[in-house]
């Protein structure tokens, strides 16, 4: 098996375990490449990729752009602010116009769930979902699982707790799919209002007690509270959230074993995680960022292999 089973990466839900393992194996090679004096390979020199971002992003966008450039692809960037979207152009029109300029792959972030899937059905180019609203963020989940594999040797059998705003988090959903496909156990932890009612149907454990969740897990993935997506008040105050679900050094040191701390960024220091935890030895937050480039190179490389000549 050395071909992905999918033509687009719209979500982890569509991937098989073999797909994920193929991506990881390819990413291993790219990780070695990006630590060379010349961090670039010529594989995609005849491919053009458009990064289409209808929502803000720094990390993901930079990471994708670096990944594309290190594969020698030509890159064009587009963001909704400062574009014709403001003048009333539809998604399909915007993208078709970009494709008319002979683009082979589109990396898209969009505020609406399902936007990437919709696009993949309408256009000929390969589509990579860089986050579609509160639905999925597949490359983030891949790099999270890849980082766990790197740190702990494997994902199989590991216990991972995802803490925070599960309701609004595309990272949480993609992570649940990805970790479960790789044989990990997943728990979600947060205030009742931020945990979707039917989440246990995905086969995840649910906890509302941070200490209990941390004692159970090998890895804690601390999510950001997505205030920009919260249309109503889901908890009394950030201070209270922080007291009940924020991870600090005191809690970390009181646990019976050493756990790995992750965060997909951007961090709200002092809310979901304190500075001393974010910068501690147990945190692999910056390794996640480094691995993000290698994993995205692998995804783009494997999808590009399917572009017809």
């Amino acid at each position: 098996m050395n071909n992905l089973s999918v033509d687009h990466l719209t979500g982890i839900k569509d991937l098989t375990r073999e797909d994920i393992e193929l991506i990881f194996k390819t990413a291993d090679s790219f990780k070695e490449v990006i630590n060379r004096p010349i961090k670039k390979v010529p594989s995609l020199r005849d491919i053009t990729i458009a990064n289409v971002f209808f929502e803000n992003s720094t990390r993901t966008r930079l990471s994708f752009e670096l990944a594309e450039k290190r594969l020698s692809a030509d890159v064009v960037n587009f963001s909704a602010s400062g574009s014709s979207v403001k003048k009333g152009e539809t998604l399909i029109d915007t993208v078709n116009n970009i494709l008319a300029m002979k683009v082979d792959m589109v990396v898209m972030r969009h505020p609406n769930p399902g936007a990437a899937l919709f696009l993949s059905k309408k256009i000929k180019a390969k589509v990579v979902n860089a986050g579609d609203g509160t639905h999925e963020h597949p490359t983030q989940a891949l790099l999270d699982a890849y980082s766990i594999r790197e740190k702990l040797g494997s994902v199989e059998g590991k216990k991972v707790v995802i803490v925070g705003d599960i309701l609004h988090s595309r990272v949480a959903l993609s992570n649940i799919y990805c970790l479960q496909k790789l044989g990990a156990e997943v728990m979600v932890c947060g205030p009742t209002t931020l945990i979707p009612k039917y989440i246990s149907e995905l086969g995840v454990k649910v906890s509302h007690n941070l200490i209990e969740a941390l004692e159970w897990c090998d890895v804690a993935n601390m999510l950001r509270i997505q205030l920009e997506r919260q249309d109503i008040k889901y908890f009394p105050s950030l201070r209270e959230y922080s007291m009940l679900f924020g991870l600090n050094k005191e809690i970390l040191d009181s646990l019976s074993k050493e756990i790995v701390v992750m965060h997909p960024g951007p961090i709200n220091r002092g809310v979901e995680i304190t500075s001393d935890v974010a910068d501690s030895k147990q945190s692999i937050i910056l390794q996640q960022v480094e691995n993000g480039v290698a994993v995205r190179m692998a995804v783009i490389y494997l999808l590009a292999a399917k572009i017809e000549r």
Binding site: N2, K25, D28, S29, P37, K40, P42, I307, R309
Partner: protein
């Protein structure tokens, strides 16, 4: 497929020993020379040469493995992508003499990719090529080996396989010929 052994274990060993002596002739004590094997099959040649050279010279020889998957010129022209192997070059090649090593030299395309891949690690003072088998008169590119174990004449329909004790169970070089009625 018809099989024909071109080199048996004894001849292969003799060939590798001769190649080692040829290397010593032009690289003296190997103080400025490194061996780089091309994945996936060249690494076995390197392992053997390293063993022989270290025994003769009584010192460690610097060796590495280089994967060329991402430098190939047939990406998207194949049915499915090749799974890359491990690259481990944990030394500087800057101003070093590099001997690129592979088992079979055929079209020269692998070596072309290998040169590109190698140069991402720095600027060597010299690059040479050593192969166990040279399928001569079948090059697609202007590439020739500096050290050759054995040169043979083959048809495009034929296949040459250098086999090792560690991977295939016996040291030998085999020529596979398609039978005419196949």
């Amino acid at each position: 497929m018809e099989k024909q052994v071109i080199l048996n274990a004894k001849h292969l060993e003799l060939t590798l020993k001769r190649l080692s002596h040829e290397l010593i002739e032009s690289h003296n004590d190997f103080s400025d020379t490194v061996l780089v094997g091309l994945q996936p099959r060249g690494i076995h040649v390197v392992a053997r040469l390293k063993e022989i050279l270290e025994e003769i010279l009584g010192k460690k020889i610097t060796c590495g493995n280089l994967d060329i998957t991402f430098y190939r010129d047939d990406f998207r022209r194949r049915e499915r992508p090749i799974i890359p192997s491990i690259t481990n070059i944990d030394f500087s090649i800057e101003n070093k003499k590099v001997v690129l090593i592979d088992d079979v030299l055929y079209t020269g395309r692998t070596i072309r990719s290998g040169l590109d891949a190698l140069l991402t690690f720095g600027r060597p003072s010299k690059v040479e090529l050593l192969v166990v088998i040279d399928r001569r008169f079948s090059r697609d590119l202007p590439i020739q080996a500096d050290y050759t174990g054995k040169a043979i004449d083959t048809l495009i329909s034929e296949r040459v396989s250098v086999e090792w004790k560690e991977t295939e169970g016996a040291d030998k070089v085999v020529l596979f010929t398609k039978e005419s009625n196949e």
